[in-house]
């Protein structure tokens, strides 16, 4: 993400040659077998993969289906496998594939609904389960009239990284554990639970532990670490999971080792 691109602006756009796009196609109502269809598009060095896909849809084959919206890497819609690597296609430039040929497939590890569109329901349910919202203890909510909860820039910095998740699902596509066992709560959902756990305003960690500290939660993770490598927003979900493991282990020790005082 952070690599510096050559300055397109100054050099001007090069339009030359062609570029071959091999695209995964699947019609659920016509057949049950997907197939690969190849398209030739012009090569422009200011184009991202999504531009080439849009070109196909607009000019060659209107039947191709995929998701996209913001084309600025923030809505999280356009994740696909590009040459078997999960990518945001609106941020992956054609010119970075010098062989002038790529294969585009739906994100791996999810059921495919149509062409490049996969089923996100599983994540949406898991996200709901981890309670990704600020929880306060009974009676400890501040009335609106009393203004904001105070939070220092340092306290903000503690959880800020985990707020940056755009729910693009690249991390799930990169996770072999999720591919093998879709019960795994998975990187982004756990990172978002951690985001609230680490927020100085939140008091709901206990309520999230049931799902997070379960077998399908953090303990299913074997720390492959690829989720963090592919994450386009530097959320580092792998770190979030490992840190949650450390805190849960500490919880366990505290419970077993330190005799509870009776009040």
């Amino acid at each position: 993400m952070a690599t510096r691109r050559t300055c397109l602006w100054k050099r001007g756009v090069k339009v030359s040659e062609t570029f071959e796009m091999e695209i995964f196609r699947y019609y659920p109502d016509k057949d049950n077998e997907p197939f690969i269809k190849s398209y030739e598009v012009p090569f422009r060095d200011d184009w991202v993969v999504l531009d080439a896909i849009n070109y196909i849809k607009d000019e060659i084959d209107g039947t191709l289906s995929y998701r996209w919206s913001c084309r600025m890497g923030v809505c999280g819609s356009c994740g696909m496998m590009v040459n078997s690597v999960p990518k945001l296609t609106c941020s992956a430039f054609l010119k970075d594939y010098p062989s002038r040929k790529i294969r585009v497939e739906p994100l791996q590890g999810f059921p495919v609904e149509r062409d490049l569109i996969f089923d996100m329901d599983d994540f949406m349910n898991k996200l709901t389960e981890v309670k990704p919202y600020l929880l306060r203890k009974e009676g400890e909510e501040k009335p609106l009239e009393e203004g904001e909860y105070l939070q220092s820039p340092a306290e903000l910095a503690h959880y800020k990284q985990y707020t940056l998740c755009i729910n693009c699902m690249l991390c799930y596509a990169a996770c072999p554990i999720y591919a093998l066992d879709s019960n795994f709560v998975g990187p982004a959902a756990i990172a978002l639970a951690q985001r609230y756990n680490l927020d100085s305003r939140d008091q709901g960690r206990n309520q999230r532990q049931e799902v997070i500290a379960s077998h399908e939660g953090i303990w299913e993770c074997t720390f492959v670490g690829e989720c963090s490598v592919v994450c386009p927003k530097d959320v580092d979900p792998a770190a979030a999971i490992q840190r949650a493991k450390v805190s849960s282990t500490l919880d366990w020790f505290k419970e077993k080792m330190i005799p509870r005082s009776k009040g």
Binding site: Y26, P28, D29, N32, P34, S84, Q108, P111, V112, E113, D119, P153, A154, L156, A157, H158, P176, A179, L180, T222, F223, V224, G225, E226, S228, V229, D236, A238, A239, Q242, R243, K245, V246
Partner: protein, 127 residues
């Protein structure tokens, strides 16, 4: 509505380099555990008698043992290094708003590894 699910092959871990390296890291943990067992047994046996100790020492010098140690050492080294490199992810510290850089945390871990190794070598070789 029907959906398509790409089957996961048994060789998924051979299909990408990071997956392969991960599986190797997991695999090397067998050697870590194995070598620990070996050490424990060794100590238990060595405590039996003077002769037992002498035979054990002799057997350590055999070529088979040398090869075994070399392989274990490589794998354990790989295991240690991969995990040391991962520590900054597990241990995140902030100084005010700034996060302590990963390199510093990993560096600290390597440093303590060096120090501990030195102390142990001194205990064994120096005494």
């Amino acid at each position: 509505m029907t959906t398509y699910r790409k089957p996961v092959s048994n060789t998924w871990w051979l299909e990408s380099k990071p997956y392969f390296l991960f599986v190797i890291r997991e695999f090397t943990s067998l050697f870590v555990a194995g070598y620990c067992l070996f050490l424990l047994l060794f100590i238990a046996k060595a405590g039996d008698s003077q002769e037992a100790y002498a035979t054990l020492i002799l057997s350590l010098k055999s070529p088979t043992s040398m090869v075994f140690h070399l392989i274990s050492f490589t794998f354990i080294l790989y295991h240690a290094i991969t995990w040391f490199n991962l520590t900054p992810k597990i241990m995140v510290f902030h100084l005010g708003e700034e996060r302590i850089p990963n390199a510093l945390i990993a560096g600290a871990v390597y440093l303590s590894w060096g120090v501990v190794s030195l102390i142990i070598s001194w205990l064994i070789l120096g005494s």
